[in-house]
């Protein structure tokens, strides 16, 4: 794929819905949507750093919603990304506890957010907690679990990458790491109680 090439909405959606990490689709989203979001954030009391942070969160939320089939192309990707970014930014403003006027603006604008976005984004804090829990997992465990459950690599590729003796050793390691992570998540009662909504809403 050519560097810097724009992609159509359909191509981006196909890449995001596939089983492979959607790196090219993510790059295309940055090239095609970032300036729009940056303009919105910086014209609404945000800094350039705010724009970068919010856009990163926006792209993650957008991809998750595509994978959960919550975005089916009824509107353009641009419209949907803008709505997510706006909602994420208004939430951030509220969290920072700025002036009452902006809170009122948040309350007003929250009502006109795209349907389905609000539920998806309210768990942002808990998602960050979940990320921290996974961060604390051992490096090898993270590699194996990511290779299996995010990159969807076949066993032989994982075996080559991680240099274990045979497939059964890798498989046993995978079981052990997954159970260990499950225990770590369940040890955080708030996280465990909300995991369903964090992942699927």
């Amino acid at each position: 794929m050519d560097a810097g090439k724009s992609l159509s909405d359909n191509t981006i959606l196909q890449l995001l819905q596939g089983n492979q990490p959607p790196d090219e689709a993510i790059r295309a989203l940055y090239r095609q949507q970032y300036n729009m979001v940056k303009t919105y954030i910086t014209q609404n009391n945000g800094s350039q750093e705010d724009a970068q942070d919010i856009f990163q969160e926006t792209i993650i939320s957008f991809i998750e919603m595509v994978k959960q089939h919550k975005f089916r192309g009824e509107s353009s990707i641009s419209t949907f990304v803008y709505a997510i970014a706006r909602y994420t930014w208004l939430n951030e403003i509220k969290k920072r506890g700025r002036a009452q006027l902006r809170n009122e603006k948040y309350e007003r604008e929250k009502e006109i957010a795209e349907p389905g976005i609000e539920n998806h984004l309210v768990n942002r804090e808990l998602k960050n907690t979940l990320v921290k829990v996974i961060d604390s997992l051992g490096a090898n465990c993270k590699k194996i679990l990511l290779a299996f459950y995010y990159e969807n690599l076949p066993m032989r590729d994982i075996l080559q990458q991680l240099q274990y003796g045979n497939e059964q050793v890798v498989r046993n390691k995978k079981y052990k790491c997954l159970k260990q992570l499950e225990q770590m998540i369940n040890a955080n009662k708030q996280l465990a109680a909300n995991l369903q909504s964090i992942l699927y809403e």
Partner: protein, 266 residues
Amino acid sequence: MPTNNWQQTCNRFCMSNNFTNEDQLIQYLDGELTAQDAADLNAELARNPVLAAKLESLRQTQASIAMYGLRQTVGGIHQEMMGELGQAGPAPVVGMRQWLHYAARIAAVLVLLAGSLVVYQYYTATPHSLYNTDALPYQWHETRGATISTLETDYNNHEYSKVIQDFKQLPAPNATAYFLTANAALQTAQPAMAISALAALQQQNTAAQTHYYEEDVVYYLALAYLQNNEPAKALPLFETIYAAKDHPYHSYTSRWFMMKLRRLAR
């Protein structure tokens, strides 16, 4: 889900089935079970809610890994793309926009303050405040070679009380005496006396068909009414001056002054 519940369920389940541990639930999720084993587990899951909860917990753990992976990927690409899009350093366009944004805000605040001040001045104006902003003390200049009266000398020396005393001594005051006395009365905040003197001067002019201080009288009589808290009487006089662009006191009757005076005269 509490571990003890799962352990008890597993022990019972494991004793009587082919599914010996959590590994088989993971195999099920990963699609690694045979069709027969998967069917047997499906049947057991339908009967056993604790086992079903355990399966769901493992499924969510796998989904958590996928979510984590996506965040890691986006985080890595984010750094790369910020470099490509030129967002790593300061962005002058955004900086300028931000500056303009602040400048516009400051300007808006200043306009609001100025507007508030105007409204405040409009509604708090009084006849006395109008008098104080508009009053021009009359500068009298003696005619070269003419005889100077005591009253005129006192006026030039700004001894206004003496002017009034001098006036009272005059058996037949002339136009200058009336006029300077009226101004002395204004300077000593005796508007009724000023009005009386200026009215007498107007009568004298009318009777003698003269025009001494004619235009000055209109202006100072208007001021005297303001000082005497009678804006309704001052208004027609100031309207005359304001309408006549060649009137010597026209420049003292601004539009803003007239707006405030009209409100007071209502």
